[in-house]
Symmetry: C2
DNA sequence: GAGTGGTCTAGACCACTTA
DNA sequence: AAGTGGTCTAGACCACTCA
């Protein structure tokens, strides 16, 4: 019956919106996102039921549902009929589908092993500074590793992270295969989205040696910029991939 | 009040569903899709209002909305508040965003020109037969063209179409830049989705000559299989692209 | 059987567009 | 002012899960 909650609560953050109209469910989503970002809701956790959230937030169950559905569409939540709503975990099965688009030409997709070649910190290059939004004084961590599918090396990748968001990174004894799970568990950083740019390049002598391919062989270069839940850039990754028996898959809908 | 429409109408097509439960809005979507597929609703056309459709189909307005929203999410419809719901058109602006993922490294995306090098019909290769689901007696049309961005040739592509779905193709005097619009207007075939596979390859002598690049230069190979609204494969396309100043963009959410 | 998400309805009001 | 899609609510029932 009472329905004037849109404008009154719209000014909760003093941001410079051009024209103020934010639907209630969008406001609800923002309040729920805050719980995720602040770590009040951790990966794998069971959320309160729709009815309970509706009571807490003083809106109808349908409005809560719209907010939850939109977060589910962004792979942030997982809903299961009869069970409840859970915070999504950066598991292999999910990561594979969402962030790993390489499949063998024949046969079913598989997650590659990885072997770290080197780690260390350094000053960022101009490209890294721009992509990660760093200042002159900031440092970065660089990881280089080689990834194999059923024994065959298929790609070599360089991961760049801003040091200030990953304190004590050098204390790590091992770097696991699934680094997004590591970011989440160790530093509470959840990767929510990423942009990738693909090019074809010729293998450098260095990469060719590590990958065991011809010098100058065509490689697929994948540059990824991954962002956290607040859309801040977190990770820059350059993968150079042998695509003789493998391809990068994209669905256009 | 009355709400038992799910099971009764579920058996409208005698397909072999494992367990019969299809929500009402999914049934509504199927009925609306039929109008699109059969050409009762043509690109650009204004649909009846939600209320009118609800009356026609004897369901509530909210259920019609769910079906329309899902079709809008698939880029089949376009909804504008205050105006109405329209059938989506294969316009450059939409196509560009949905089906053309190549952007210059610097500057804003632009749609390339194209110049046809050759057309003709032939017997399909094994790959073409498998991808397009063709039999031994079927023929295909092949188009080869070169595409340029601001004067610079950037890719050469081979398009393969099943002859039986594109009758009198050889009567065409010109082949326009936007072929999906042509498919729609001339043969009533709407491209609804596509899958792409990307690899890095070395330029063949033939491609290098046409593109004006080095022999063996790394090219991005994009193999696309495009499907119509009923998910039948319609077009197979092999693009070989120079990615010196251009990249293929993907968003992972 | 109790609790959860999923569907469906009915009705009200809001924001936007066009006449 | 009238018509459209967009939001919000309230309440009912259905399908699924688990103790």
């Amino acid at each position: 019956m009472e329905n004037k909650k849109q404008v009154p609560e719209a000014a909760e953050s003093g941001s410079g919106e051009p024209i103020g109209f934010k639907p209630l469910y969008a406001q609800v989503r923002e309040r729920l996102m805050r719980r995720l970002v602040d770590g009040a809701w951790l990966p794998g956790m069971l959320l309160p039921s729709e009815m309970e959230l509706a009571r807490q937030l003083n809106v109808s169950q349908g409005t809560v549902r719209k907010a939850l559905d939109s977060m589910t569409a962004d792979n942030l939540l997982l809903r299961r009929q009869g069970r409840g709503t859970y915070v999504a975990e950066p598991e292999e099965s999910r990561i594979m589908f969402q962030f790993f688009r390489l499949s063998p030409d024949e046969g079913s997709p598989n997650f590659p092993d990885s072997k770290v070649l080197s780690t260390g910190s350094a000053s960022p290059t101009k490209t890294e500074k721009e992509a990660l939004g760093l200042g002159d004084a900031d440092e970065v961590i660089r990881i280089e590793r080689i990834r194999s599918l059923s024994g065959q090396p298929i790609l070599i990748e360089t991961i760049t992270l801003p040091s200030n968001r990953f304190p004590d990174f050098d204390h790590l004894t091992i770097i696991p295969n699934n680094v997004y799970r590591l970011y989440s568990e160790r530093w509470g950083i959840t990767i929510g989205s990423a942009e990738e740019r693909l090019k074809a390049i010729a293998a450098s002598a260095r990469d060719a040696a590590k990958l065991g391919c011809e010098n100058g062989e065509p490689l697929l270069l994948i540059s990824r910029l991954a962002r956290d839940l607040e859309n801040r850039p977190v990770e820059l990754r350059w993968s150079r991939c042998i695509t003789r028996e493998i391809h990068y898959a994209v669905n256009l809908r």
